[in-house]
Amino acid sequence: MRIVAMAPIAGCGRIGARAAGTAMLCALLAGWGAGAAAADVTVTVLDNAGHGVAGIVIIAESDAAVPEKHAVHTAIMDQQHMQFVPRVLVVQTGTGVEFPNSDQIQHQVYSFSAAKTFKLSLYAGHKYPPVVFDHPGLVTLGCNIHDGMIGYIYVTDSPFFGHSDGSGQLQLHGLPPGNYTLTAWHPDLEEAGGSTLQLHLALADNGRPAPVFHLSRPLRSETAHDGDKRWTDY
């Protein structure tokens, strides 16, 4: 995930050109929570053998009032070798997402998910302005020319989100005290409840909790993609 600050705010800015292990200091971005005993929380995702699981979307949503939104950002969902890159993107509500096409062939990107319905007519290169994702929820992306291209944008109101890194961890910075719902999501999770896991987190002053998601089943195999040949839909 590449997140580019369109209007940087003092004390924050561009965070995490690489998605894994990064979280947005959105509380700082908005100045929200300043002066409170904000805490850093390390969330861990472990498989049933105790190993860290990378790439899981993690979101902390406060049970209190919805935090202010951070400044408008733009994220990028590229198209490379007939795949969406990254395959999974998580953004805050109101974020604009660019859809450049880095392939040599044209794509035709669409979504008819409830959280965002849009379509981009056939194009190559960097043709369209960012698409603003203004409602929370899961948006599934497709390409009408290449049905095998599937991507996901998880849109959340919360400013506290990110992906677990190679050791299965994500640090969420600057969470004010309060009660939170922690959500772990990935399209390849095959837990009893589906592709979403949730934990409740009570964050006291000066607390440094370390919540852990334990997966009971391995992630479904990564989507098979046998090369970047120009498969034709025969």
């Binding site: 062939i105 044209q106 035709q108 669409y110 979504s111 008819f112 998910s113 379509k119 007519s121 056939l122 899961l138 599934t140 497709g142 009408n144 020319i145 049905d147 095998g148 599937i150 479904r220 195999s221 990564e222 989507t223 098979a224 993609h225 046998d226 090369g227 040949k229 120009r230 498969w231 034709t232 025969y234």
Partner: protein, 409 residues
């Protein structure tokens, strides 16, 4: 259809600058070094089951393939694929496919597609490269060789897709139905020559082989319908993530087998079959493909009162293959086992039966973005009763080793 028309159409789409600027174009030059001990090939009036025989190996043109795609109004996709084999076809450069596909954006999870023109029915799970070339070997399986030789949908096909993955499901489903003409004589090559394994597709306006009822007739040509009866096929597809694809199809050219063509000196062949296949990609490195096809073809059915003659040839046939392919980076290694059989169930004179199996091993290495080399070893062990009519033994063990150098532009 006239070759002048093809030329004009190709010129129109390939040379119009405003179109070409926003279009996809490819060209693939495939040159081969071939060593073969095969029986006389169909290209040389024989009944061998390989493309290249022991008298015609050495340096050969595998194919020169050209393709063009252009989208109009965002949802209309025009496609043309052409090929040259340099083997004496009456059309030195000719189309294999020429069609328009109307492909609107999905409506919720449903999408309709309509194809009009000349194109391949959705049967092969090997032939995934532009120009309907196999992605796994030089020579496709016996089933898909036959599809390339005798079948083309020249008509219209409608597809309805349910894009379940867009709704959080793991499956996508599709239904297909088509009506077509120009296939009244599909089945003749199979009934005369039996199953073969080669990558020599029949072109839309080309002709290879002899017409009539000679022992090596096997005419490869798409000819206009004489019986004015449309053929049809209907089938379905199911895809599980990107891991598994299942296909099934029922095909019936609905030809009147008593229709006689004075141009071809032949009766029509009523050809029906069922086919099924799966492609399983358990990891990014491994692919498994299996296909099965079984059916009948009948010529000169005396049950039709309009018979010019009452000859009655009826065949049953089936074929199957399993293919395993491993890829890592620029290397791909594939192995395939084919099994095939055909037998005559009725005849007024000669019976022609065919049975055999084949092993194919292929290794491909990509050399950068444009170049690749492919080495393929193929052995077919078969029996074909018709071979006695040209003085050859019924049984044959044929081997072919090909090294292809490909340049893709």
């Amino acid at each position: 259809m006239d070759r002048l028309l093809i030329g004009l159409l190709l010129q129109a789409v390939l040379l119009t600058p405003s179109l070409a600027a926003a279009s996809d174009f490819y060209a693939v030059i495939d040159l081969r070094a071939v060593a073969s001990d095969g029986e006389r090939s169909f290209l040389n009036g024989g009944l061998g089951e390989l493309r290249f025989d022991d008298q015609h190996d050495g340096a050969r043109v595998g194919s020169i393939s050209l393709g063009y795609h252009h989208a109009f109004f965002d949802i209309v996709h025009f496609n043309a694929n052409a090929v040259a084999y340099a083997d004496g076809d009456r059309s030195p450069l000719d189309l294999t496919e020429f069609y328009a596909e109307i492909r609107p954006f999905p409506w919720h999870s449903l999408r309709s597609r309509l194809k009009l023109g000349a194109f391949y029915a959705p049967i092969s799970l090997e032939n995934r490269l532009p120009g309907w070339r196999s992605a796994y070997s030089l020579s496709p399986s016996a089933i898909n060789t036959w599809i390339g030789e005798e079948l083309r949908t020249i008509g219209a096909e409608y597809d309805l897709d349910w894009l379940g993955r867009q709704r959080g499901h793991d499956w996508e489903l599709g239904l297909t139905a088509a009506g077509y003409g120009f296939n009244d004589f599909s089945g003749e090559v199979l009934s005369v020559s039996g199953w073969s394994i080669n990558d020599r597709q029949t072109t839309l306006f080309g002709r290879i082989g002899e017409s009539g009822n000679g022992p090596v007739a096997g005419l490869r040509e798409f000819h206009r319908d004489d019986d004015q009866r449309l053929g049809y096929y209907a089938g379905g597809t199911a895809k599980y993530l990107d891991t598994l694809e299942l296909r099934a199809l029922h095909y019936d050219n609905r030809a009147n087998p008593n229709t006689y063509s004075y141009a071809l000196l032949d009766f029509a062949w009523r050809t029906k079959f069922n086919s099924a296949g799966l492609r399983w990609t358990p990891t990014a490195h491994w692919t498994v493909i299996a296909q099965w096809l079984a059916g009948t073809t009948i010529e000169g059915d005396s049950g039709f009162n309009t018979a010019v003659r009452t000859d009655y040839y009826a065949f049953e046939y089936h074929a199957a293959f399993a293919l395993v392919s491993w890829q890592r980076g620029a290397d791909r290694l594939s192995a395939r086992y084919d099994q095939f059989e055909m037998h005559q169930t009725q005849s007024d004179d000669t019976f022609n039966n065919n049975r055999g199996h084949a092993w194919t091993l292929a290794y491909e290495r990509e050399l950068g973005k444009s170049w690749s080399v492919i080495l393929e070893a193929l052995q077919i062990d078969s029996s074909l009763a018709m071979r006695t009519s040209i003085g050859e033994p019924v049984a044959a063990a044929e081997r072919e080793l090909q090294l292809a150098v490909r340049l893709q532009l």
